[in-house]
Amino acid sequence: MRAEHIDTRLLKERTERSRDMSGDAVRITERVLKDAAADEAAKKDVMALQTAAALEHLAVSVYRTAAGLPFIKNGTKTVAEFIATTVQQHQEHAKAFNAAAVKAGGKEQTRPDEQYGDMVRRTLSSARNPVDVIKLSASLEDMAARTFTKYVGQVRDTRVRRLFASVAPVEAQHRATLLAVQSLLASGHENLVEIPTDAPRLPAALGSAGIPDVFQATANARPMSEGAVL
């Protein structure tokens, strides 16, 4: 029987083609998975930014309501001025968060945080004096600082991370100032709530009242999805 001739060139060609196709399939799958992961991470960044904007709107709303309360409006001038400046700063934060959300392909968040807002508004409606308002504002600032600090470690885009990292310390400073004022009011030193203050007369407790934490806590931070705009 005559040996049958096998065309090995064709076999080689097909093997090579198969190898190329297999390589292409791996590369395409990798790219698709990578893109999907990047999309997912980008979506999380947008949600974080929208939730942050919602918290900022809530802060603005609470401070504005507080500013209209008679014991704030007719109370210490420095507190009223602090509220006005802080409202401006929160508005700037909201604007920056929304700009970043839009840049990342998301929508602007124009509403205050509903879930956390319910509790905050209930507390504000029962406020009877400046200390009540200051306590509530300090806890609102604390929540913002906790949330933004936590997001720093969770977001993907370095510019978004930087934004959260540049806002969280400012919310912490608002809180420190409010806690210091709360301490002065609670100890009957209302006359020292002014800028410039009379430093030699400041009570010893003021030196530590504004900074209760050694590290910024992040426990109970608001979930990223809380203020997301669908």
């Binding site: 802080t86 930087r162 540049s166 010893a204 934490d213 910024q216």
Partner: protein, 287 residues
């Protein structure tokens, strides 16, 4: 601050001090475990990076594009900060015709950076070592302020300032510990002193501080430098542990700055966003 036999006592009652101590201990309990986890993660990540890239090669912080710009900025800001310290000190003690103390020429104030092969901390570890050094610098500065107050150099020290200085020093000790835990986890020696090229300027300024306000202004600059350095690190850092550690310390340094501003008669929250113009970079390290 009042003098007591053999030392200093806080101008507050024992029960108030106990309350403050209890609060501080609770804060420690709440935050330190998280810090240890972050430090351990950071150490592991840095060890991985070290294995992936040979010593002296770019990695971690050094991989980012903006680092060159950051280094250029450092030449401006580190020098600027040193000059600012000196100007603050000179404002109360007089200056020479150049506005600087004669012994603070660039060759002394900024010792040459060690050659790459002698650098002890590489890649992201340089930032960790820088952070530990900055914290040690703050601890030393507050310690000097307390000692100077004890020697009645500043006259009467407001009670709130005494409390603040004691508390802030304790905070910085804990922050340094957190950074050093990361170094230990990465198998590197801890930073127990202040290997920073601006240290001479800082100690000179502290020596020249004649009033509580002078000392508070110096402390404010150190707090601002630390907070802004951590903001910069969050942006340039690679390891999640390092980013989280910096992110949880920066707000506390910023709060320190707010209290100091209030005591100094300034508005406590001057900026809507934390700036970075005073941030130090790892180039400040001399080890």
């Amino acid at each position: 601050m009042r003098r007591a036999r053999g030392g200093w006592e806080l101008p507050i009652g024992e029960s108030e001090l106990s309350g403050l101590t209890k609060d501080m201990e609770e804060a420690h309990r709440e935050t330190l475990p998280a810090m240890r986890t972050s430090a351990a993660e950071l150490g592991e990540r840095i060890r991985e990076l070290g294995q992936a890239s040979p010593p002296g090669s770019p990695g971690g912080l050094a991989q980012d594009g903006p680092v060159d710009a950051g280094r250029r900025r450092f030449l401006l800001t580190a020098g600027g900060l040193g000059a600012a310290f000196l100007l603050t000190a000179c404002s109360s003690t007089g200056t020479d015709e150049k506005g600087l103390p004669p012994h603070d020429g660039p060759s002394e104030a900024l010792p040459p950076r060690p050659a790459v092969d002698t650098v002890m901390y590489t890649a992201e570890l340089r930032f960790v070592a820088l952070s530990a050094a900055l914290e040690n610098q703050a601890v030393g500065a507050y310690g000097s302020i307390l000692a100077a107050a004890g020697a009645e150099k500043f006259g009467a020290v407001p009670p709130a300032v005494s409390t603040f200085v004691t508390m802030a020093m304790a905070h910085h000790i804990d922050h340094a510990k957190a950074w050093n835990e990361a170094l230990t986890a990465a198998g590197k020696p801890v930073v127990t002193d202040v290997p920073l090229s601006n240290q001479r300027a800082v100690t000179t300024a502290l020596d020249r501080a004649a009033t509580v306000d002078d000392a508070a202004k110096l402390a404010l600059q150190l707090e601002e430098q630390a907070a802004q350095t951590y903001l910069s690190a969050v942006y340039h850092g690679k390891s999640r542990g390092g980013i989280e550690t910096a992110a949880t310390i920066a707000p506390v340094e910023a709060m320190h700055a707010s209290v100091l501003r209030f005591v100094l008669g300034q508005y406590p929250v001057p900026d809507a966003f934390l700036p970075e113009d005073m941030a130090a970079t790892p180039g400040l390290l001399t080890v």
